[in-house]
Point group: C2
Chain length 242, copies 2
């Protein structure tokens, strides 16, 4: 798969945090397959395995290496499964996956989907200069002006200000297919996710987020890849969407 | 800065986990600067600020959003500061920074250094096919054959098998300037770092690692960026290396 920045690294998907050991998407050699199965087997001993939302919980544990993280994930929608269903549908519909920063984009799998993968950062530098807002926030607003976020898989892994900007866009009428937001840190990270959850709930936008200060690019990429994985299972008939 | 894969994204450094809010390297707008100072101020309230090793501890907390992570970092060397000093010197000497996967490479700052930044993944696919070892492990062995790891900043953020392969290389005589290894997960991640620490100690290779299952690409990139940051402070006279 060729990504928009010209990289032809078809193995990107195998490189996201934890995904290197992920049997169905990334592991292409015998040894990696073995690790993959053991790793997900261990996660399944620690996290329920009943619903689509559980798969996101499992992935959060897989990506962070921390069994406790399953309790920090939040699902915004009429049901817990709704954001997972919406995400899988968006992947099947080949909607764009739009990340905040390059690092998250680099973690999105190249396999199992034909979605264009874009990053926000790099856009809106004029706006940032003029207004003094962060470059990531400006980049989200700039892409939003171009209509990029409507029906897209909107992913924020790093920047609280990007999450806040995305919340503003949703409040102003933008409708992503699903939001995956796990910015990390001590300033505004938890608050930005809380605001995203409020706005998303009010506007009917499904979202996967977490509570607390933890999070990050690896987690955001991992959760997004799990949406791709669910879509693959739909395609192969293993999973049926409601 | 132009990276080896042709990307000209000079703002990469501002994109690593947590680095978007990092005043001296990444924050270029007023709003980002404010967040940056508050964020690192909060971290400094939670983590000692006396030694060079403390800066790595601070960064680990900053990157993970978890004050407890400071206790999980391990320093291999005659002193705790040694790997930080060795890393800063390697950066000042413009030695290569070699990451395991694309995602970690994407998180390495483009500012404050003139080191070539390379990734291992993408090399050694023949070896992986032939032997059944993971692609990341094969890629490390392949680069090692080319002598890439000698005197380099060797970074492993994702793949336990890459960390194990790097340990094998060190055992066989390779001498990185410093190792930064924080692979994450339930299978072999903690063990791979333990083995790296043993081999690095035995062979006199300074290393920054962590204990436990947690870790990941964002952390590895963040800690490596802190080495770059220390090097910048040496250049500006704020820090003197022993």
């Amino acid at each position: 798969m060729t990504t928009e920045d010209g990289s032809t690294d078809g193995v990107t998907g195998a490189e996201a945090d934890g995904v290197d050991e992920y049997a169905d998407l990334g592991a292409t050699t015998e040894s990696a397959m073995e690790i993959a199965e053991t790793s997900m087997d261990r996660v399944r001993e620690l996290v329920p395995d009943e619903t689509l939302a559980d798969r996101i919980r499992q992935k959060s544990v897989h990506a962070t290496g921390d069994p406790e993280f399953q309790h920090l994930v939040r699902f915004t929608g009429d049901t817990e499964d709704e954001p997972v269903v919406a995400g899988a549908r968006a992947v099947l519909d080949e909607r764009p996956i739009v990340t905040d920063i390059t690092m998250v984009k680099a973690g999105i799998t190249g396999r199992g989907h034909d979605c264009p993968v874009r990053k926000a950062i790099g856009n809106g530098s004029e706006l940032a200069k003029r207004t003094g807002m962060t470059r990531t926030a400006a980049s989200v607003l700039e892409l939003d002006r171009e209509g990029v976020y409507d029906d897209a898989v909107a992913v924020v892994g790093n920047a609280p200000t990007a999450a806040l900007a995305l919340a503003d866009c949703i409040e102003d009428g933008t409708r992503p297919a699903v939001v995956v937001a796990t910015p990390v840190g001590f300033v505004k990270a938890a608050e930005s996710r809380e605001r995203l959850r409020e706005v998303a709930a009010a506007r009917g936008v499904p979202a996967v987020t977490n509570v607390g200060r933890r999070g990050g690019s690896g987690l955001a990429a991992g959760l997004t890849n799990e949406l791709v994985h669910v879509a693959s299972d739909v395609r192969s008939g293993e999973v049926e969407l409601p």
